[in-house]
Amino acid sequence: MSMLKIENLEAAINGKQILKGINLEVNAGEVHAIMGPNGSGKSTMSNVLVGHPAYEVTGGTATFKGKNLLEMSAEERSHEGLFMSFQYPVEIPGVSMTNFMRTAINEKRKYQGLPPMAPTEFLKFIKEKRDMVKLDAKFMNRSVNEGFSGGEKKRNEIFQMAMLEPSLSILDETDSGLDIDALRIVADGVNRLKSPETSVIVITHYQRLLDYIKPDIVHVLYQGRIIKTAGPELALELEERGYDWVIKEYEDSLK
């Protein structure tokens, strides 16, 4: 079953064209890795998919679970089951984690025509998901991400992912700024959330995260286009040889 189908997607920010025709299909149950050198458009792609208002889609289509993704607001995309783990999770002083999560969950339930979650049920749910990513209870009373360490912020992203139970999760450079222990906890959380009905897009510079979250398919993004797609062995090869050979191969093919 097709989870996400992107065809010829083009996007710009501040008038500058970044994505120049992306084609990508992700099926339910699959894990895709998107790799590529700095400035190739990886973060733009994830931001466009989740509906960041700063980016302008200038062409192409994106279909999410059979619906036109590009017509939906950011919050609708979330309610439909799209999640992004931010490369730089945002601090929100004055908004407690509990309040934030309760609002998010209940807004989603409202969208689904369900009543708000009962307080006791909500607390149980929070505890279960916290345990999964080993996030201490004290964080729930703190403001969202405020004063969290780099590792805590990323664990908090996966905690939110677990709470919202998305069908498609985009992990945008989730490994950046993580030490090996935190990386393992985060990857473990992601793996536990995997099912035949859910998909993951892992955006990363390095092979490292892919040792823990095993991709089915690896793509290389370069100058706003996917220039190579292969199996998991591609990630290892990139780690070893860098991107130059893929880029050269691509440029030769254009000649």
Binding site: V50, G51, H52, P53, S73, A74, E75, R77, S78, H79, F83, M84, F86, P89, V90, E91, I92, P93, G94, V95, N99, F100, T103, A104, E107, K108, Y111, S143, V144, Q160, L164
Partner: protein, 448 residues
């Protein structure tokens, strides 16, 4: 000078009437008020301290005043039939500027020796007590509204707490503007805290009818040695309301005073707060919130005078300005020569939600002592776009996310409110305000 002249004439013609409706102690200051008004006039925007609010203009219309003290009945039960539990207060009412006895304002429950009630009555019955304090802090040697207020004020509210007495229950003074015609009211409040005494006072300023009102308010607070006082001044009037308030506080050694100034609904407002440290080791926490939209205007000016060593002042004012509303904040801190070990912190943060909203902020530090810790900061900005998007990605709709961010922003100030039930209720009030559910004067319903 012209509007001031009109009021001088008005007073001269009606002096007997004014004095008959008041009390001797209050009448003794009228000559001084008269000469001050003649000398300085009413504060206008060519004065630096009134740059953003031309208060003198407010006085131009031919306002009616209730100098004859005609009974203007207000149905308090009707206005406040809703009673939410939790915050139980000792309740008092001012109808316009006259103290109104009400069944609910019983004396029961107040400790021995405490005097709370009509200022006029106190001035008649305990002139010795009032004379020592009335008009001693309000500064008539400068342009301001103390002069015109002192000239016309006939009644108001007094809270007197003797040495060593603690009033556990918060006192709540609800001032209701209610009349069939446009009205100017001159409200006067006097608070005297004896040595090591403690009290909390909540002022709720409301306008019941949709008439135009002009209120002058002068509050004088004497915080005795080692006393503790919390003052909450909550304005919830409407767009046709004009309010000029001056709050004077004198803090004796070791006293702790906290002031929260909350403007949730208003027309044009100017609040001036002057605090002087008259004894060492005193602490002041001075905070404010203003939430405005339409063409509302809020101008808070604070002056903290560190005259003696070892005192601490911290100030936090936050504004959220929507539509074409305007805000102004000027915070002056003066650390005089010899006021060593002063610790002073001032923060003013503002959010303009639209391109039309305007904020003017002016921190001002004057330091003449060398061993002090002073800081100030002011910012004007918008809601954090990154936070908004983060919240929307998690499924929180744009409107709700904005609401949460605004609430979080002013929540920092409300979080400082020590009275827990009041704090909870203020959160709820502010939330309602942001949701646009609070049109006018629901304040006390929600906060009772």
């Amino acid at each position: 000078m012209k509007p001031a002249q009109n009021y001088i004439e008005l007073f001269k013609e009606n002096r007997a009437l004014v004095e008959r409706g008041s009390a001797g102690v209050m009448n003794t200051l009228r000559d001084a008020a008269l000469s001050s008004l003649a000398r300085y006039g009413l504060p206008h925007n060519r004065l630096e301290e009134y740059l953003h609010t031309d208060v003198s203009k407010w006085f131009e219309p031919d306002w009616g005043m209730n100098l004859a003290r005609l009974d203007m009945p207000v149905d308090f039960a009707q206005a406040f039939k809703c009673s939410v539990p939790n915050l139980s207060t000792q309740l008092y009412f001012l109808a316009n500027d006259a103290f109104a006895s009400s069944d609910r304002a019983s004396k029961a429950g107040l400790p021995e020796g405490v005097f709370a009630g009509s200022l006029k009555e106190a001035a008649q019955n305990r002139p010795d007590l009032v004379e020592k304090f009335y008009g001693r802090l309000a500064d008539m040697d400068k342009p301001g509204i103390a002069a015109i207020n002192t000239l016309f004020a006939q009644d108001g509210y007094i809270l007197y707490v003797p040495d060593g007495v603690t009033i556990e229950k918060p006192l709540q003074l609800i001032t209701l503007l209610s009349s069939k015609v446009d009205l100017m009211v001159n409200r006067r409040i006097l608070v005297v805290l004896g040595r090591a005494s403690q009290a909390k006072l909540l002022l709720c300023d409301h306008a019941l009818a949709a008439n135009n009102y002009l209120t002058t308010q002068v509050i004088e607070v004497f915080a005795g040695q080692d006393s503790t006082f919390e003052l909450y001044d909550l304005e919830e009037t409407h767009t046709a309301n004009l309010r000029a308030s001056e709050l004077y506080i004198s803090q004796d050694a070791g006293s702790k005073v906290s002031v929260d100034n909350l403007t949730l609904h208003n027309g044009q407002t100017r609040n001036t707060v002057c605090v002087t440290f008259d004894g060492q080791g005193a602490e002041l926490s001075l905070n404010g919130v203003a939430i405005t939209d339409k063409s509302q205007h809020v101008d808070n000016m604070t002056f903290v005078d560190h005259r003696v060593p070892d005192c601490t002042s911290s100030e936090l004012f936050k504004y959220v300005l929507d539509e074409s509303s305007t805000g102004a904040f000027a915070g002056k801190v003066l650390v005089r020569e010899g006021a060593q070990h002063t610790s002073s912190q001032q923060t003013n943060r503002n959010i303009c939600l639209t391109r039309e909203a305007r904020m003017f902020t002016q921190p001002q530090l004057e330091i003449y002592a060398d061993d002090v810790k002073c800081s100030h900061g002011a910012t004007v900005g918008q809601l954090d776009d990154k936070a908004l998007f983060y919240m929307r990605q998690r499924g929180i709709p744009q409107q709700e996310a904005r609401m949460m961010l605004m609430l979080a922003f002013v929540g920092e100030v409300i979080g400082k409110v020590e009275l827990e039930p009041l704090r909870d209720r203020l959160y709820r009030l502010v939330e309602k305000r942001f949701r646009g559910e609070l049109t006018q004067c629901e304040g006390c319903r929600a906060c009772r």
